[in-house]
């Protein structure tokens, strides 16, 4: 495996590792359904997401008790399954968001000089 391939794989793992957190962040704004969450993630993050990925994640979060769901008739005439964070889910989302921001700001201090030095040298 080349250095570039290895770095790409790491980036992919990083993005996918964040997926569960991203879904919970999206639901923190209010209840939403699968396709709505997908759109929100596409618009607000650069996470690459296959459409089939979101539903097993939501199912797992529901089984873990951090997300609840209800079927609601949509304006288009067919039912939608809406998901919302439970109390436990909101607390976990908050903890995850805090931990993420703390980690990201710490790493940013390390990463910025690396990028700026590389840009200067090229």
């Amino acid at each position: 495996m080349t250095v570039i391939e290895s770095a790409n794989k790491w980036e992919v793992q990083l993005r996918k590792g964040c997926l569960e957190m991203a879904v919970m962040m999206a639901l923190f704004r209010g209840k939403n359904y699968g396709l709505g969450i997908l759109r929100m993630l596409e618009d607000n993050s650069n996470l690459l997401l296959s459409e089939g990925t979101i539903y097993p994640i939501l199912n797992r979060l529901r089984q873990d008790g951090v997300v609840d769901s209800e079927w609601v008739e949509s304006e288009l005439g067919h039912p939608r399954r809406y998901y919302m964070l439970t109390h436990k889910g909101r607390e976990r989302a908050l903890d995850m968001a805090r931990a993420w921001l703390e980690l990201a700001s710490g790493l940013e201090r390390l990463a910025k000089p690396v990028v700026s030095r590389k840009e200067k040298s090229s």
Binding site: K16, G34, L35, G52, Y55, N59, H78, R80, R81
Partner: protein
Amino acid sequence: MTPVVEKYLLDLRMALSGMTLAEREEIVDEIRAHIEERSIQSGMTVEEILRRLGPAVELARDYNNGALLRRASRSRSPWFILRTTYYWARTGIQGLILFVLAFVGYVAGGAFMLCAFLKPLFPDQIGLWIGSSGVIFGVPASTEGSTEILGPWFTQVALVMGIGFLIGTTVAVRALLPKLKKSQHLARGVRETELIA
């Protein structure tokens, strides 16, 4: 719904083997709603929508993996745990190691239990034998030159050993399954993103 969609949903329903009937129907309803909504809102072709969802069998596998692991990490049934680890053995080296651990543990536990139950029927053939051929627990090829040292206590000792192996294996596998779950989620994520890319 077109026959292509119905076929996709049927394949999904059939492949959701790790789910209860109610869970299965709910999942199929949700995927059906997703396809309808995508079709109305984006005007995509059914083929494109299904391509974006991924093959029905793979989608079902993602649901099943989570459900099987969740149940197995709560279950005390050796049979169910063994079935789950067998399923995971096919997904990677960690799953294979866990399956081998579970298999060896349960076979050893079962063998001790069997010896305990057979001892009253074959008191002169089964036991803990010490002699010229070393120490043998169970049935030696020949008892000549060997002495059985546990006598009637053999049954109790074999029972305790058997139960110990069964419980120990169950506890160990249940503790290791959640770790496997985390690493497999990550691995699956890499696979899916590579497919998108």
